[in-house]
Subunit: 696 residues, 2 copies
Amino acid sequence: MAKPFYPESIAVIGVSEKSDNLGKNIVKNLLDFQYEGKIYPVGQTEGYVYGLKIFTSVEQITSKIGLAVFLIPAKAVPDHFEACARKGVKRIIISSGGFSELGEDRTDLEERLLSVARENDIRFLGPNCIALINQDNGVCMPFVRLSRFPNGRISLLTQSGGVGLSFIFMFSAQNLGINKYVSLGNKLNLGETDIIPFLEKDKSTGVIGLYLEEINKGREFISAVRGCTKPIVALKTNTTVTGNRTAKSHTAAIANDDRVVDAVFKQLGVARVSELDDLPPACKIFEMPPMKGKRIAIITPTGGYAVILADLCEKYGFTLPAFPKGFTAYVSKHVRAGVINLTNPLDLGDMFDLQMVANTVMRALQEEEFDALMLSWIYMRDTGITIDSINIFPLLDKMLKMIPKPVVLSMVGNPADIAQLQKTTKYPIFTTPEESIKALKILYDFSTSAVSLRTQEPVIKDIDEAKIAKILDAAAAEGRKELGMESLDILAAAGIPTAQTRLAATAADACAAAAELGFPVALKIASPDILHKTEVKGIILNIANEKECTDAFVKLTESVKKTSPGSKILGVHVQKMAAKGREIVIGAKENESFGHVVLFGLGGVFVEVLEDVALRVAPIGPLDADNMLSEIKAKKVLGAFRGMQPADAEAIKDILFRVSTLVTKFPIIKELDINPVVAYETGGGCLAVDARMILG
Amino acid sequence: MAKPFYPESIAVIGVSEKSDNLGKNIVKNLLDFQYEGKIYPVGQTEGYVYGLKIFTSVEQITSKIGLAVFLIPAKAVPDHFEACARKGVKRIIISSGGFSELGEDRTDLEERLLSVARENDIRFLGPNCIALINQDNGVCMPFVRLSRFPNGRISLLTQSGGVGLSFIFMFSAQNLGINKYVSLGNKLNLGETDIIPFLEKDKSTGVIGLYLEEINKGREFISAVRGCTKPIVALKTNTTVTGNRTAKSHTAAIANDDRVVDAVFKQLGVARVSELDDLPPACKIFEMPPMKGKRIAIITPTGGYAVILADLCEKYGFTLPAFPKGFTAYVSKHVRAGVINLTNPLDLGDMFDLQMVANTVMRALQEEEFDALMLSWIYMRDTGITIDSINIFPLLDKMLKMIPKPVVLSMVGNPADIAQLQKTTKYPIFTTPEESIKALKILYDFSTSAVSLRTQEPVIKDIDEAKIAKILDAAAAEGRKELGMESLDILAAAGIPTAQTRLAATAADACAAAAELGFPVALKIASPDILHKTEVKGIILNIANEKECTDAFVKLTESVKKTSPGSKILGVHVQKMAAKGREIVIGAKENESFGHVVLFGLGGVFVEVLEDVALRVAPIGPLDADNMLSEIKAKKVLGAFRGMQPADAEAIKDILFRVSTLVTKFPIIKELDINPVVAYETGGGCLAVDARMILG
């Protein structure tokens, strides 16, 4: 994968002397960024650009070509692609648009490229992109002219070239160095799943920023991120119906279920940002040392910012411990007027001596009570208040080296001044309090959990695979794709506690089964044709005695004949009524991109009305299960609630692991819905009461 | 209220020749901003500042003083305040800090100021503020030196001086003119409730921006905003426990219930922003004509922005209708290459001719299908692509004059370039897509609903006041502050349908009552000492016959004797079981600042676990009731749900109006909780089943 970033020579296909030729810009960028390899412009007509000869075909070039970048009409691409293959070029970038993003009829073009690539062991980027940049060697191939920008530890992968360009502008303006930049486009061959593993090994890259409109190879994405120890920050768009209509015609992007994407990012410790503007600060915060706890000390020059920051800390789960006595004694000795409360946030208000501010910051930093410090500052010039904010940067730099805790500088003031400071200062400057705290949360999450999330071992439970296979095979032999109550047998074989159930063909059988199981029981219509029993009035609950049981049998079979005529009726399932507990829902469903996704939620309105569910891609690990239980909005219900002790979390997680194992080992199960599972108080376990399954 | 903004002369109290004197800055600001009235510096020592004589007391000044601004230690303020009173000064600004924000012991100081003000008919701003600015006459009194900044249609009221200063910087940097600026500080006398009505009349003010840490006079705030026809944009902080601890020591702010604040803003069409950075664009959007519908046409130069904008439109409830045929025909005639999809958003990609872009915008604007247009643009210089974005502004300006629809320009690129453009261009420039769409949503909401919300007449229902007074008086006579089932009698008198209920002292009475009402019934323990009947196991539901009724009576009275020993038991309430329907909760509670707040939510877990409630301050109007029903997260339950027809919205709203009327006419009711109200299908009405009340 290193090759496209380190080509020994580059052929630029699509260059002419014409003034509006865009291919020429690629050549100029390579020259301006001081690429040291050979550059071979190729075009339809001979000539010269920037002192370089334009060849009319790659065959004319006698030397070896490390990489070819195309900027020619889509229909001309395959021929040139084949010419490159013949010439032995192994890395190609197709910047041209006009492929499947314009419609299904263009997929032929793409198939041809893919087949030539396969036959000739070629890897290619694009089409429909603006190529890549590597600041380590001056490889800069966008067809938009660029000025030199700072090199640094951040590498960006972006599906949209235009959005990626904006990021170059935005990052550079904040003196945030971009080391490598890749415009992914339609991702026909190379995508983020190929490049992330390369960036993990790349010594120049410290932070990976992503702009994605789709994750089309979800499983590979998960593997790529699991192998990565570096911070990854992602902006993923195309989250709505309208967005997808648009993305399809932009980068031919598929529509991901955004709840799954969100779950995957949580599962992998990928920091997801929601707005364009959030990406630079989210990458910038990694210029700071790790943040290992939640405790922040805040120093501000004005009470309003103290209030805003205090609100934000609570909102983002940080704490503001009181300052230790030694610190408050120190500050009160040096404050000008007596109008300061020595609380955290500390409103320094009247302290206009910058050295003194720096000393105060340093003093606070030494306190073990704090894991990070935020210095909120108003940058003022010519305000009649003696302050020269600019001198604070060397002081802060020195501190960071002495005490490795994050010292976040949040600076507001005249935006032009702040922009100028950001552009010229090495020390990272954040602007609004909101920006700073959001970024700090990203640092905290990465510092405390990302690597353990990515490297957790999945929990694979011992399940009776032979028995499960037998039930599934039987269904397959009968051509049945949907399983009702026999799903419970599969779950039982997977080690999940299920309500005791008997099939009864007659009312008398039902009564006998009920007597054996013990009243009260439930009767549920047994038919291979009926999956949604409630909809056809196929369930009667709380049957207390034989008479009710006989009546229920008759009522059920007759009502179902009416509501679902023609269904084959085997009789009823007699099930011992489960004792009362919390009803939860556990399930799994195959996702086109990511494979099987495990679902957890509370029963009833929580799932049905509020879609309050937690998702994770199978197989799940111990942290995933913990997080699923704690991330639902209604998690309060799982604690001590309405006179009940907390729910048996271990038993719930055990079912999650078993479901995760089941669908991992039997991917033929496309959909599994255990609803309800009754969860009892801690130690009391769980009971799966009803379930259905769809097979592939 | 105009006086502090238009003083004929100003005394600045707290000026000296010393280099670190801050009072001097006030004088300099007045001179720099070309205040034309007389300026009288007053200090402890005679001398001169900026050529003006320093008086040592206000008494020395022979001419009339229109306004005095104080910047002296808190303890010295009262004496000078009295001196000003003697001198006949009617308007004072106390910039000094050190009052109740530092602790309860300083309230004496404040009491003294208030009493002198009362006796002498003085109105004053502050303490603990940075005074005010009026750009119409050069009154500029902050003690921080300011450079001249643009005048315009926006006036800002801000509780924090520091945050307010940042806004001056931020607004000015975007060439957004601020006309009046008021730093409110501790709001001991004058506050936003006094100044909003003045700004409504003020011809120079077109938009009002607020930064508030508290709304301490909620009723007055509501009146002030109801009388205002101008857009109001508010950033309200101090929303958390931590924030409140901090705000108390900053501006001595009280803690508002943020859910109530949020409801009040919705009720009044005040646009609430959540971040500091959101205020300038939210004010700026009002430079545009009103937006009268939801339909947007989007034109972008890159597909990535098209995707982002499409997502945002869906998220914020806008629609993107297809372009009419005439328009697409026009565009396809003028596009350079065939790589464009003629969809909305329109990715112009290859169209680099700016006049052509402008023509396209103009053409789209003429289409009746659209209520607003967004032009997303990447500003590029020296990129090798022929584009000169700067020339677009005059074209856009011309368009707005011809067709009064919003044309929002969202411009990304090098932030320094964008900042420079914003600073120098009259046409409002927004940056990220998120910023633009959020601002447009604010414009849309104001254009379509703010004035009707503010001017709606409350719905006052005819209720049996005499009967209600009688029940309340009886309770008062007995010294009871908490009412249980008799609350239902009050509700019935207020015209709210309630479940039929009988008090029964014995089991036999209970059976007789049940027979009269008709089985099944519920028995509920009747005791003036027991308000929460469920907690003491004081309710038995679904009693089917006389035997069950007798058993239930015994069981109830005995169990309550155990769970609530010593309670006076009157017997039981026998209540006809309500037919099944949706359970909802309706209530009201007095709020310290805003008065009575009416609450609506769904019963059970929705309120208990998810706090999914809608609030409005009483008395409520028709739009309020509609919005309450539609703003709960689980509103789906009110529609066709689980085989039920939609709930009877008219009947629910009728109860809301009656509760609103009840607490408005009987403010002695501090808290009212009707739980549950059973709501039936449309036309079926509602039934209040249980209720409790707390009296003041």
